[in-house]
Symmetry: C2
Subunit: 173 residues, 2 copies
């Protein structure tokens, strides 16, 4: 079996304005010269200036685009010609008000694909299933992940452990 190849994105971000964040992102592995400047903000209602999309809009776009990219990339690799992909969908969460703050949990993510192709239905379904396996973000959403948060405190760095009771239960995909 071939070796596993690491795919690593690194980032450096700072807050600015009222609620705006500016994030530089680059690909560390496999090495890539490009760097992307991405920003988020919140609207008036959440105390921001609306200068950029909110983080959840970027997330929703990434969820849709990752599968779309995988479908087009694999269509060439698998010899299943397609002319294009359209997707509509929704990402939904629930917010639980708690005293002054709130906690959140994911609900359900739904994507409806429309693939423009003359290939038989079985081939398009095969392409979709292969794209699911190849899509980094879809695979990430299929499991509980290791997300490490560290906090600089003076010259120290401490890991911030999550409250185990705050983790929402998994569902059967």
């Amino acid at each position: 079996m071939a070796d596993k190849i690491p795919v690593i994105f690194e980032f450096s971000a700072h807050s600015t304005g009222k609620m705006r964040n500016e994030i530089d992102v680059w690909m560390a592995q496999p090495p890539n010269e490009e760097e992307w400047q991405i920003a988020t903000d919140e609207g008036d209602f959440h105390g921001g200036d609306g200068t950029a999309p909110p983080p959840l809009a970027l997330f929703a776009a990434a969820v849709a685009a990752c599968m779309m990219t995988q479908i087009r990339g694999f269509s060439k690799r698998m010899g299943i010609p397609i002319r294009g992909v359209q997707v509509t969908g929704r990402t939904s969460w629930k917010l639980h008000p708690e005293d002054r703050v709130y906690s959140t949990e994911p609900d359900r993510f739904e994507l409806d694909f429309d693939i423009d192709s003359d290939e038989p239905r079985e081939r398009i379904e095969e392409l979709m299933r292969q794209a699911q396996k190849g899509c980094f973000i879809d695979q990430t959403l299929q499991r509980q992940n290791a997300v490490v948060h560290r906090l600089r405190v003076g010259d120290d760095v401490v890991e911030i452990e999550r409250d185990p009771e705050s983790t929402p239960p998994s569902v059967d995909g």
Copy 2:
């Protein structure tokens, strides 16, 4: 206990160019008038024209910005004044080459926070822990999610079930 509030983003996306995707995203619940146009592309190496960040760069930016936004929002709600937040980090995956295609799995996501504040360390750690509970994306990464993929086939719509063997195993957060 207060009612749960749905937070829903909807999107409509289409492929264009060689590997570019254009995604319109809007907030369906609570209703919001704004709509954001977001694009992704791939570099030369992956057959794209490099006109926009790749989906994984948007994803990494969203992971960082969601916690940063939550920290600033909750700092006001909890009365823990901060001047700003900086974050560096990495999102890493593994790619397994398989014949003409490949499968992927998440590896580890690491974020290092530097919070500019005169508050005592304990209060900043409390703010971080509360932000973890409130961060939609962090909570999403903590569990296996329900992600539904449907495909239009003529006048029909079929759900594309995932290959159960392709789901990467969960890890202990």
